[in-house]
């Protein structure tokens, strides 16, 4: 299948592991002195250039991309690299330098420079520079590796074969590299942009194109923790975000678990029908149901106060009282969120082998024991990562908060409403108040919290501990 010989591969590793072994003059001696390699079938006898190949020289030559490949007699590959390098040098140098200049200064003439555009171009330039640097490094490594292999006596593969080999061995990279380039643009670039915004003075009163932005260091973070309107809001929002995430998600998981268990009972009939109805809240677009709920919970006109609670002669201020608003919004989320978990748990319950329960019956296990020692571990084991994702989802569940009550009711002395979670607060700051700098600073704090917990949890979860298996 491949021309690679085990011993040659070992030698290759050795050479790259200690580069000191292959300095100029020793190279030829080194090859001939190695007993295993001369006998290996990968060798093409009589290639006199092979003995002279010097990896270090090849690597140094490819400081100008392509020359190292010429040295290795790979003319076509070398020409392509040289051409690419020249094109990039001619076309990209000026824009890249401009980009970095823009990133550092954020513009110096308010008439012509738009700091936001400069910021975007600056980040893109930085990303391009990193990518080019990686490509450049790979080019040097490639020349070095080819020279090593030549020294070991391998023939230079034909162009056709080289293409075939790189597809054969480099297949994962053909897929992963483009995917990651796209992810860099759509996911990482916006994150970088936001991180940088947090260190500028970008808000409603100082916004491009009329004004230039400036770097202000950690001022926004200092304001966030010292100015009372910000620190109070931050504390309140953080506390409610945590309560909201834990309570709403746990309730929806508990309800889903319970319902999945009872519907899965062998004595229950019309299972399909019941499950179909139970999935409905998931299947109906949530932006409609949340708005309908908002109408239903309306203090004066809503059906809950008007038609249901009026029977008991009570009227609850669902949308105007902070506590009731929070209760209402949690109830709505449980309604919206339980079908997904219900579907998951149902799937797992159906896959648990009957043998477990029969064995438990033989041993006289009670129903509680069966639940505790068979059902629970199975379900949690199987769904843990997705349940964790549910917590992360609710932590960032912008739609329901925004649509239900726009984060209201407002709280005096705070820039946030009573039901505002981090993400809806950030949204309000960004799009309603145009206070970009504070929104960005808060986003960073939020991002760090989420990333920390997610990373910690995923590491603990099964799929990572078993990674070694594959």
């Amino acid at each position: 299948m491949t021309t690679e010989h085990p011993s040659a591969r070992a030698a290759d590793h050795e050479a790259s592991a200690n580069p000191g072994i292959a300095p100029g003059i020793h190279a030829s001696l080194d090859t001939s002195a190695r007993p295993g390699t001369s006998a290996s079938p990968g060798i093409v006898p009589g290639t006199n250039t092979a003995a002279a190949a010097n990896p270090r020289a090849a690597a140094w030559l490819s400081v100008v991309p392509g020359l190292g490949q010429f040295y290795n007699h790979r003319w076509i590959k070398g020409s392509i690299l040289l051409l690419l390098a020249l094109l990039f040098a001619i076309a990209m140098t000026a824009p890249l330098i401009n980009g970095i200049w823009g990133l550092i200064t954020l513009g110096d003439n308010p008439e012509t420079d738009d700091s936001r555009t400069l910021l975007v171009q600056g980040i893109l330039s930085a990303i391009v520079i990193v990518i080019l640097a990686i490509a450049y490094g790979l080019n040097i490594k490639d020349a070095h590796r080819d020279a090593v292999r030549r020294r070991e006596g391998f023939a230079i593969p034909s162009v056709r074969k080289a293409f075939h080999d790189s597809w054969e061995h480099g297949f994962p990279y053909f897929i992963v590299v483009p995917t990651f380039l796209l992810l860099t643009m759509i996911v990482i670039f916006p994150l970088l942009f936001m991180v940088l915004l947090a260190f500028t003075n970008y808000n409603l009163y100082n916004s491009p194109p009329a004004h230039l932005l400036d770097w202000v260091g950690f001022d926004n973070f200092i304001a966030l923790f010292t100015e009372s309107i910000w620190s109070r809001s931050l504390l309140a929002v953080m506390a409610w975000t945590v309560v909201w995430t834990l309570v709403a998600t746990s309730l929806q998981i508990a309800l889903a678990f319970f319902l999945a268990m009872i519907v899965n009972d062998s004595r229950v009939r019309f299972k399909r029908f019941i499950r179909t109805v139970f999935i409905l809240p998931w299947a109906v677009p949530s932006f409609m149901t949340v708005l309908v709920f908002a109408a239903m919970f309306n203090d004066t006109f809503g059906t809950i106060n008007r038609d249901i609670l009026s029977v008991f002669n009570v009227s609850v201020p669902w949308l105007t009282d902070p506590t009731w608003a929070r209760i209402a919004i949690i109830l709505v989320q449980v309604w919206l969120g339980f079908p997904y978990v219900f579907t998951l748990v149902t799937g797992v319950l159906q896959s648990i082998s009957k043998d477990w329960y029969e064995a438990a019956d033989v041993d006289g296990g009670t129903r509680l024991a069966k639940f505790r020692y068979i059902t629970m571990p199975h379900v949690l084991f199987a769904t843990a990562p997705l349940l964790i994702m549910q917590y992360a989802y609710n932590f960032n569940n912008f739609n329901i908060i925004y649509l239900f009550n726009k984060g209201g009711p407002p709280v005096p002395g705070q820039s946030s409403g009573a039901t505002d979670i981090m993400i809806s607060w950030v949204y309000g700051l960004t799009f309603d108040q145009n206070n970009y700098k504070m929104a960005a600073a808060i986003s960073i704090i939020m991002g760090l919290v989420v990333a920390f917990f997610a990373f910690y949890q995923f590491r603990r979860s099964r799929s990572f501990r078993e990674e070694g298996m594959y």
């Binding site: 996911v187 670039f189 109408a295």
Partner: protein, 284 residues
């Protein structure tokens, strides 16, 4: 004999209890949904005067959406179908390939790329909306379907990759190992051996990515500018968010027409959803 009678009665009582709980859940689930239907059949525009069973119900709102010359509803629906189809196609293609590589190949940097992808899925894309706007503006993709589809597809990649990778991990590697022995190439193994086996989870991904544009009004609100390019969610949202008028009954009628096909597909794919998610979750 007596004992079995007793346990029988107990069992019946339990089953009755279960049905009672199920019945209560039915009411809780269906009540708001019936309200949505009720609101859409009310003749006025306000949701506050609306009744569950309207006194003089009418299909005016539905008529308006389809027949009134001022209504762009059919256009919005068409736009959304275009965006949704391309999103589903592109997602299934990219997710399938990437998950295949993550699940089946050893390569330098594999673990780090997997960690990076995992971390990416926990950052809400909403946080970067301003940057997305500026970026699309820079490359001239603002106010285009292409921009929207790229955003949806790539933004959803991390989550979907893990769904499919988890599912693929449960499929024994012996299958593709033996195909490899027989000289099958990378793509051949994927399309001939694995594809039929991972079809259920790819169906789930296709469904999720197809549905997303129908449900999301935030992204199009930022990316799309001209009303003739609106997706249906954004267009409907403008009914209740416009300064011109707050037409909740019309909004309800429009959303019900989205909800119907989506829930139908959802319920048909129920079996796939249950097995696909459960399998994917095991290793995800």
């Amino acid at each position: 004999m007596k004992r079995s009678l007793k346990s029988n009665r107990k069992s019946n009582l339990e089953v009755a209890g279960i049905y009672l709980i199920v019945l209560v859940m039915f009411v809780v689930i269906l009540y708001p949904l019936l309200w949505a239907v009720g609101i859409s059949l009310n003749p006025g525009t306000s949701m506050f005067s609306a009744k569950l069973i309207p006194d003089n119900w009418s299909t005016d709102n539905y008529n308006w959406l389809f027949n009134d010359p001022r209504s762009d509803y059919k256009l919005w629906y068409k736009n959304t179908l275009i965006v949704a189809s391309f999103n589903a196609l592109a997602s299934v293609f990219m997710v399938g390939l990437t998950a295949f590589v993550f699940s089946r190949y050893h390569f330098v940097g594999r673990k780090n790329t997997i960690y990076a992808t995992l971390l990416m899925q926990v950052f809400p894309v909403l946080m970067g909306m301003v940057a997305i706007y500026l970026l699309l503006n820079l490359v001239g993709l603002l106010d285009t379907f292409t921009g929207l589809v790229i955003f949806y597809t790539v933004g959803g990649l991390p989550m979907n990759i893990f769904l499919v990778k988890g599912y693929m991990d449960t499929i024994p590697r012996d299958l593709d190992e033996s195909a490899k022995m027989d000289g099958a190439g990378h793509l051949r193994i994927l399309t001939r051996i694995l594809l039929p086996l991972i079809a259920p989870i790819l169906a789930v991904v296709a469904l999720f990515t197809f549905m997303a544009p129908f449900m999301d009004f935030l992204t199009p609100r930022i990316i799309l500018r001209s009303p003739e390019k609106y997706t249906v969610a954004l267009g409907l949202f403008s009914f209740i968010n416009d300064k011109m008028g707050n037409n909740f009954t019309r909004f309800a009628a429009g959303t019900i027409l989205i909800a119907l096909p989506i829930s139908t597909v959802f319920l048909f794919l129920q079996r796939y959803l249950i097995s696909g998610l459960a399998e994917g979750g095991t290793k995800g």
